[in-house]
């Protein structure tokens, strides 16, 4: 069987408030699966449902094909790295790491040996006898990781494990976490609201908002082929242009851009509802002489970003547009107030479902 976790139409209500509004997703063997979404969208709640700390209001969760409803957390072969680590303050690092093994009934000899191996894996061999309060934030994070990995769970749940670290450490830990996942072959379910983290580490990403999954796909799919305005806007920078759909068939659309130019673009499988929009990433548009591109716009402002220049412009109908040009001596930036032409790369525009 390839899927380790299957979440089927899960609903979770807290009183009158619906935190999860029918979430379905499947997580495959050895995947690095990320739940990405803004604060309060229900990521932690979903993780707690999988770990067994919340009862479901509706729906089922299958772990390796088995319905785990009603199974207490200690009976689920799933371990969690908590957001603030929750290391036991009265136990040494080694005792913390060996705790799960002890509860599983492993003898003191083997479990201390295993704890030592786990500490080695997270580069903390010399710290076995310290108390958690004697460690830095990054070290505590590694202990939490070692503790959760020690019993070799089927699935490891991580709730924003990097959010408490400073930027440098966070970037280093991204690489390390990914390596650890590949070495151990354990399925990771990783929660974050940081899109860069999600894009760099994940095999698959589920983008959530307001208790719903808005899109599931590989980082490339999520970034390059967003299916709705929420995903397009949440991941990276984008331009959303209102369009008129001239024809739509089999995920390919012929759309009319503001200004009248026509474009063929791939899009969602379903015909758009409401005002149709296309999403175009700023880096997939180039400046051309006025009248020779897909759009004409007037420049409002130039922002210096070091390697790049950001050009803020506005279409005749008032739609804001931003694009990037490389900061090089060869290209002369347009002056504020001047009119520019904008060419859209082939396939760069995506028709969104809403």
């Amino acid at each position: 069987m390839d899927e380790v976790v299957a979440v089927r139409r899960v609903v979770k209500r807290f009183g009158a408030f619906t935190a999860l509004a029918g979430v379905s997703l499947t997580i495959g063997q050895k995947q690095f699966f990320t739940l990405l979404g803004p604060s309060g969208c229900g990521k932690t709640t979903l993780l707690r449902c999988i770990a067994g700390f919340e009862d479901l209001s509706e729906g089922t969760i299958l772990l390796e094909g088995r319905d785990i409803a009603g199974l207490a957390p200690n009976l689920r072969p799933v371990n969690t790295v908590f957001q603030h680590y929750a290391l036991f303050p009265h136990m040494t690092v080694a005792q913390n790491v060996a705790f799960g093994l002890k509860m599983q009934g492993m003898a003191p000899g083997p479990r201390l040996k295993r704890a030592g191996e786990m500490l080695e894996l997270v580069h903390l061999s010399g710290f076995a006898d310290r108390l958690p309060s004697q460690l830095s934030g990054g070290q505590q994070q590694r202990v939490a990781l070692a503790r959760a990995l020690a019993p070799s769970p089927r699935v490891l749940l991580l709730d924003e494990p990097l959010s408490a670290l400073d930027l440098k450490l966070r970037q280093a830990m991204r690489v390390e976490l990914k390596q650890l996942q590949e070495e151990t072959g354990i399925t990771f379910v990783f929660v974050t609201h940081d899109q860069e983290e999600a894009l760099t580490m994940s095999d698959r990403i589920a983008v959530m908002s307001a208790g719903e999954v808005r899109q599931i796909g590989s980082p490339r799919e999520i970034y390059e082929a967003p299916v709705n305005r929420f995903v397009a806007g949440f991941i990276g920078e984008t331009n959303l242009l209102p369009v008129r759909v001239a024809s739509f068939a089999g995920g390919m659309a012929r759309v009319v851009l503001p200004g009248g130019h026509q474009l063929t673009c791939p899009g969602a499988q379903t015909a758009p509802t409401g005002t149709p929009h296309v999403s175009i990433r700023p880096e997939r548009m180039t400046l051309v002489p006025p009248g020779s591109g897909d759009l004409d716009a007037s420049v409002e402002r130039l922002i210096y970003l070091g390697t790049d220049l950001q050009v803020l412009a506005r279409l005749a109908d008032g739609t804001a547009l931003h694009l990037r040009m490389q900061n090089s001596a060869r290209a002369t930036p347009p002056g504020a107030g001047s009119t520019i032409g904008v060419a859209i790369e082939e396939g760069a525009a995506r028709l969104l479902a809403d």
């Binding site: 207490a72 929750a86 036991f88």
Partner: protein
């Protein structure tokens, strides 16, 4: 600077403070000083000696005091132990039990004994014991003490428990611990400073109690406070000063210990 007005600058502040402190502590100081007086008089200083401390163990009243001390200490130990266990269970239910109907009322009920005038509790307890036909004596004192010690043990335990995040127990459960194991291996050690603090407080409250004890003790049964009271009724002798000083020392010791245990717990949590 526009901070709070400095209260120390108010006219008469120093004098007022000194007066309050004097009223509180001069009598205690006098008792302590005269317990070392080498004289049978309470008012004339006859030099320093420990004769009244020796008198506690060898004097005519020694057997009475020894019996009373034994009762006091065993009752305080048993009452503090029992009330701490009950209070700890109550605190876990109140703090970890989530929301349940009548939680506010339960909290009030647990802490009501702190507000009810002790004399009322004393009368009520006596009536209760005589109604159910329980002979007054050691057992009635013990039951009464267990009861009124519960809120004193409860407060430090609940305060400690409220400061312990629930994620510790969840982490334990997540790592294959049963409910009982998570309690025994994680929550109990973490709440221990509160438990010890509660025990010490309950012990001291039991040791010091006079009013309720006096009502429910029955004839021939004495604890230290009732023994002291009985002795004083026949006139104050310096041996009472020595006994009072001993009790004061024990009280201060326990309260200090309780304070430091709590502080230690707070530091280990950080």
């Amino acid at each position: 600077m526009t901070g709070r007005p400095d209260i120390r600058r108010y006219p008469g502040f120093a004098a007022m403070a000194a007066l309050c402190l004097a009223i509180l502590y001069v009598p205690l100081a006098v008792v302590i000083a005269y317990s070392f007086n080498d004289s049978t008089s309470l008012t004339n200083w006859g030099g320093v000696s420990l004769r009244w401390y020796a008198d506690l163990f060898t004097g005519v009243e020694a057997p009475r005091f020894r019996a009373a001390a034994w009762n006091s200490i065993t009752i305080a130990t048993l009452a503090a132990t029992a009330s701490t266990i009950i209070a700890a269970a109550a605190a876990v239910a109140m703090v970890r039990g989530g929301r349940f109907r009548g939680k506010g009322a339960t909290f009030a009920l647990i802490n009501l004994p702190l507000m009810v005038p002790e004399i009322v509790t004393a009368v009520a307890t006596l009536i209760f014991f005589s109604t159910i036909g329980l002979m007054t004596g050691y057992l009635t004192i013990l039951i009464a003490h267990i009861t009124f010690c519960i809120p004193f043990a409860y407060l430090p335990i609940a305060a400690r428990l409220e400061g312990i995040e629930e994620t510790f127990e969840q982490a334990a459960r997540d790592l294959y611990a049963t409910r009982a194991q998570a309690f025994r291996l994680i929550l109990l050690p973490l709440m221990m400073p509160g438990v010890i603090s509660g025990f010490l407080l309950a012990f001291i409250i039991s040791l010091d109690d006079f009013i309720i004890t006096n009502f429910v003790k029955g004839a021939g049964m004495e604890t230290l406070p009732t023994a002291i009271f009985g002795s004083v009724k026949q006139g104050i002798k310096p041996n009472i000063l020595a006994l009072s000083t001993v009790m004061l020392t024990v009280s201060i010791l326990f309260v200090t210990l309780s304070y430091f245990v709590n502080r230690l717990g707070q530091r280990s949590r950080a």
